[in-house]
């Protein structure tokens, strides 16, 4: 069956291109001669439409295409290698792999697109349609026409229509060009914009219709850009929220200035790394990241409880001493990790479902890892609110903060509640560490970058108010991302800091000031 399909495929291609046979044979010697010659050989193979070129191009992509000392091109490795031209077995002794550079890679993508446009596999066809679209070459018009006539999947059909428009724009027919411009204008993508701009530069007579199409694209891109900035701000905000939630408990609710908070975040990231290493090679390995969530929470919570019982409880009511002591503890934790794990970054692998980009409706692109972190941040926030409002510990926590002595007379063991509250806040920092391991470097100084931001969020939102922390984090994230294109990453941060200073002058208790010293949920 496969052979039959292949021969149909071959026959079809031979119809579209009579030069196939010569093209294939003539192209081979160029492979591996120099980057320039390799690139033009790849182009020839793509243009020949000869299906024998496909395994050669795939091998080139995988690095298994070899060039022998006498210039013969071999496929495969070691004794299994075959001569690419004849298909006869040929030992690969002394043959060197054909090397790639970006020029060859880009030629390779176009050529693979040309050869795979009629492939039976839908994913290959989709990728091929994209590649042919990008190469925007008039040579491909007939090929795309054929593919378009046979295509059944609507999404690929759409891609092919765009590819056809791009190819026609490079062609000679005036009417087809005009239609192509309209089609590309409706597409509203940056790639379409690029192709139109290139066409405009090549042919000044098309400037007027292209400008109309460009305005249309720019309008839809402007809307999309605004939406993307908002989503990016939301994503930065959710990172800030995660980092600050733990602090909202330990600093906001308990009033402990915990300068080691950033190091708890770092411990959470290292806990993620440890879980990943422990599960390496087991069937649970793909679930390392979800499994790291409870592990990181428990580890950092335990360290937090130790810190509270061992040191902080002796310093209640002495903020300056607490600040210095926790600062010291932070340095000790950092150096301990540096001694234990080394100063080099540790690699936490992103699971496949956290890689790549997701296209939201309206063409808004969003990277998957950021999307998951937004969801995770919201989930953790809701859980914290629920824990404080509905659990017994939450009730006791609020009671102790409102009035310690009365709480004690009601039979609440205030010391135990203090330890558990601090452990809870530290555990939340650990959760932030799990999330940060996906977007930042797992290194001993991971936490130092987040400690200032966390305090900023809590103070801005209003000390003691969880809702304030949520609103504060998201506001700061969005403001930062809106400013960034105009001011640059460095100045945007400075502006945000100045704005917060001015804001605190006017409202010293933050966005959501609490009345009295009550904690709420």
């Amino acid at each position: 069956m496969k052979r039959f399909l292949l021969s149909c495929f071959l026959a079809l291609l031979l119809m579209t291109s009579g030069r196939a046979q010569e093209g294939f044979v003539a192209a081979l010697p160029g492979l591996g001669a120099s980057f320039g010659e390799t690139a033009s050989a790849v182009e020839k193979l793509g243009a020949s439409g000869d299906p024998r070129g496909l395994p050669i191009l795939k091998a080139l992509q995988d690095g298994t295409l070899l060039r022998a000392g006498d210039g013969r091109i071999l496929l495969g490795q070691g004794n299994a290698a075959v001569d690419a031209a004849t298909g006869a077995a040929a030992p690969a002794d002394g043959a060197e792999p054909v090397r790639l550079n970006n020029r060859v890679r880009s030629a390779l993508r176009s050529a693979l697109g040309q050869l795979q446009l009629l492939s039976p596999d839908a994913t290959e066809r989709a990728a091929a349609a994209d590649a042919v679209f990008r190469s925007a070459s008039a040579e491909n018009i007939r090929l795309i026409d054929t593919a378009l006539a046979r295509e059944t999947v609507p999404a690929i059909k759409e891609k092919l229509r765009l590819a056809l428009a791009a190819a026609q724009l490079a062609g000679t027919e005036a009417e087809a060009k005009r239609q192509a411009i309209t089609t590309l204008g409706h597409a509203g993508s940056t790639e379409a914009r690029e192709i139109l701009l290139k066409a405009k530069a090549a042919d000044a007579s098309l400037a007027a219709p292209i400008d109309v199409a460009l305005t249309e694209i720019d309008r839809s891109l402007a809307y999309r850009r605004a939406a993307e900035t908002f989503v990016q701000g939301l994503s930065l905000g959710s990172v800030l929220l995660l980092a600050a939630l733990g602090l909202a408990i330990t600093f906001g609710v308990m009033g402990v200035i915990n300068m080691a908070h950033g190091e708890f975040v770092m411990l959470g990231a290292y806990a993620t790394f440890l879980v990943q290493e422990a599960l390496r090679g087991t069937p649970f390995a793909p679930w390392a990241l979800p499994l790291a969530i409870p592990a990181a929470f428990l580890i950092t919570a335990a360290v937090g409880a130790l810190l509270e019982r061992g040191f902080i409880r002796h310093l209640y009511g002495r903020p300056l001493e607490t600040l210095l002591m926790t600062f010291g503890v932070g340095m000790v934790l950092q150096q301990a990790i540096r001694l234990g794990f080394g100063a080099q970054n540790r690699e936490v692998i992103s699971p496949p479902w956290m890689q790549g980009t997701l296209l939201l409706p309206g063409g808004i692109a969003m990277t998957q890892n950021r999307l998951w972190i937004i969801l995770f941040g919201i989930l953790v926030f809701l859980l914290v609110v629920a824990a404080i409002r509905f659990t017994r510990l939450g009730l006791e926590m609020r009671a102790v903060v409102q009035n310690r002595r009365i709480a004690a007379t009601m039979g609440i063991r205030t010391g135990r509640v203090d330890a558990l509250t601090f452990a809870f806040g530290s555990g939340l920092a650990g959760l932030a560490g799990v999330a940060l391991s996906q977007i930042d470097n797992v290194s001993p100084n991971l936490g130092t970058g987040y400690i200032i931001d966390s305090f900023m969020v809590v103070v801005f939102g209003g000390v003691g108010s969880l809702f304030g922390t949520l609103v504060g984090a998201l506001t700061l994230g969005i403001i930062n991302k809106v400013l960034e294109p105009y001011a640059g990453a460095v100045l945007a941060k400075v502006f945000v800091l100045v704005a917060i200073m001015l804001f605190i002058q006017r409202r010293p208790r933050g966005l959501f000031a609490l009345k009295g010293r009550a904690a709420e949920a």
Binding site: G36, L197, Q344, E347, N441, P485
Partner: protein
Amino acid sequence: MSNTPILSRRTALMGAGAALALPAIQPAWAQGAPIKVGVLHSLSGTMAISETALRDTVLMMVEYANSQGGLLGRKLEAVVVDPASNWPLFAEKARELLAVHKVDVTFGCWTSVSRKSVLPVFEELKGLLFYPVQYEGEEESPNIFYTGAAPNQQAIPAVEYLMSKDGGEAKRIVLLGTDYVYPRTTNRILRGFLNSKGIGNADIMEEYTPFGHSDWQGIVSRVKRFASEGKKTAIVSTINGDANVPFYREMGNQGIKAEDIPCVAFSVGEEELAGIDTKPLVGYLAAWNYFMSIKGAPNEEFIKLWQAYIKNPKRVTNDPMEATYTGFRMWMNAVKQAGTTAVAQVTPALIGQKLMAPCGYEETMLPNHHLSKPVLIGEVQANGQFNIVWKTPNAVPAENWSQFIPENANRKKG
């Protein structure tokens, strides 16, 4: 004498190592105190990741020199201090090396700011410093020898490559950097160079980020947009340190491939790639004067010496380590030639020293205290090594005062 291959002396090295272990048959060093070699690299703090390997390289060379019978019949002794990535402390430690330990030569510094901090100390106390890292130029001290690249030996050829046919014929350039002196000066030089090549300021995007920046989504989407103006765009990255990892990750996640927007980096080497998953980085470029993947006897000797010293067959070598090694061997040759370690005599003897360096080219110490070096462009491979895709035919003499900075126009050459 100047090109003594190390490998041929490896048996001697081992013999000497054994001899050192047995005091009874220790070779009788000639009269005189040992020659002191100062090592001024951060062993703690943020720069420890990079600088620890350079400390080890100097210690390896001291051991190597002793295995060769020392210098002028005297034994070498390393004096290691830790300036802890703290720039003012660099000056203090330099003073300690020169005034208290009275070292004959010092190898040290990584960041430009640390070098600027020790420069007055070395000039005041008439010391001798070898600085092994690529830098922004615009400096020349009688007491410092610069064995890393000047901008015309790294940055400018890299951009020329991006503008060439093989490099993708870039017509628009994005200059991304960490916000401190090296990227800002380098980008100033590059802007002058690009303007001279007809790339106007409208086709140059320049952005800086803080050290350790991790949120690249905005910048990468702006780069994408900048690249969609119908002209081939390339990135020149002077991003330093571990901010590179989230940067490349974001590029991968946003679906940018090296063949669409090529990116050449000046601060990403084998050591930096050692800790990360390099598969998404394949095809991205780096410009250096040395890659571990260079073939040839001088590099094989260097790698063997290093892996034997560090007792780890998997440890990688990189460009600043090679520059340290080359500088050390040139200093040894100059001392032999001068017959003394006195700075006043060694300095003139250093000028004109030639050495077959591990990069496979003969490097010469020029009168401006910089080396002539080849320029190589490598592509990241899946195994964390670089595949060399372009190189200069000859070693390029260093131009520490860039012609693309207008203030240098009146400066005399050499």
